[in-house]
């Protein structure tokens, strides 16, 4: 078993916000190219804030802990703030991840971003992905 921090173990053993949102405003699904796992995020948006965030994850202990902490970090944030949840921040919030488990934190941030993209496109608003933001500085 990889050496996980207490925080990872806590979020793995007692994951927060597991589930689906029936009438979600946005859904984001991301597959893991490294090991083939999958994460789905569901969001509700109120006044440009994430009023509810839920997830389902098929993956390792780290992936489950990552989705749980991402859901906690994202709740109550504005869409812009939620976009700033990077894999590095997720790993830091979890008191670190083993080296070969960093790709699991990418998965969480990406799935959340896709859910936000989905919400924006459903609203007919322009979807500005993080990649484009980066490219544009």
């Amino acid at each position: 078993m990889p050496v996980y921090s207490d925080k990872v173990m806590d979020h793995f053993m007692n994951p927060r916000n597991v589930g689906e949102i029936e009438d979600a405003d946005g859904i984001g699904e991301e597959g893991n190219p490294v090991c083939g796992d999958m994460m789905t995020f569901y969001i509700k948006v109120n006044d440009s804030r994430l009023s509810d965030v839920k997830f389902k994850t098929f993956g390792c202990g780290a992936a489950i802990a990552v989705s749980s902490i991402v859901s906690e970090m994202a709740r109550g944030k504005t869409l812009e703030e939620a976009r700033k949840i990077t894999p590095a921040l997720v790993a830091e919030e979890l008191q670190g991840l083993p080296k070969n488990k960093h790709h699991c934190s990418n998965l969480g941030a990406q799935a959340l971003n896709k859910a936000i993209d989905d919400y924006l496109s459903k609203q007919g608003k322009p979807v500005k992905t993080r990649r484009e933001e980066k490219r544009n500085g």
Binding site: D37, M38, M39, K56, T57, F58, G59
Partner: protein
Amino acid sequence: MRRVYLDNTATTPLHPEVVEAMLPYLRDIYGNPQSIHNWGDAPREAIEDARAKLADLIGSRPEEIIFTGSGTESNNLAIKGLAQAYQGRGKHIVISAIELFSVIHLAKTMEKRGFAATSVPVDGYGLVKLDELAKSIREDTIVVSIMHANGEVGTIQNIKEIAKLLKGRGIVGHPDNRLPGNASFCIEFIEGEAMLMLLSSWGIAASSGSACTSKALKASHVLTAMRIPPEIAQSSLLFTLMRDNTEEDIEYVLETLPPIVDRLRQMSPLYAKFLKKQRGGR
């Protein structure tokens, strides 16, 4: 909490009789068996005695038995030794796709040393395809190394048929392994590492061939060779038993595992999709 150890292919406790037999040599009796002085006499006698007993068990001559420090060392010695001894006759070795890495990596090393190696595929049950094996054997084949039983999925090869293919052709067979108490599963829609972590929190040790449980993040080469789809390989769970495991141990596992499976399935998007499909939706 009950503690149940079911990861015995990885490592297993010594049999108490072995401990008993070894204790004098770990504690009081020492000396290099090659030495001229008589400290070496007792260890030498013990080793020769063990060699004779083993030879008797398998019907060989004592001098044909070589002790090594590990399985990997034995496989290396056997295959490299045979290759070197018979290289005048040929330079081709055959293995199966589900051998241990100690054999697979060795075959790659031999290729760098001017030998040719063929890896024979297996079917969906992990059985070596005999027709492929027959085709792989060439004039210059000197060694065929195929494990008798696979410690990961429990497949037992038809070693008699394999031996028939080799008979009378001057090819040496190297059948690695035998195995009792192996129970290998794939529990769909959930991942192995997560299962192992929850099982461990309930005092149960098992193992998995999922990509997430491996350092290299690759699914087990055995499951891959069997063409098990990646998402099914992700859900691999393996219990390997030892003589000390009791009926109660297994009952405890049977009580503990289903709630763990349920709990992870409730979290799994794949399971949700499966349920929706079953209900006739998308």
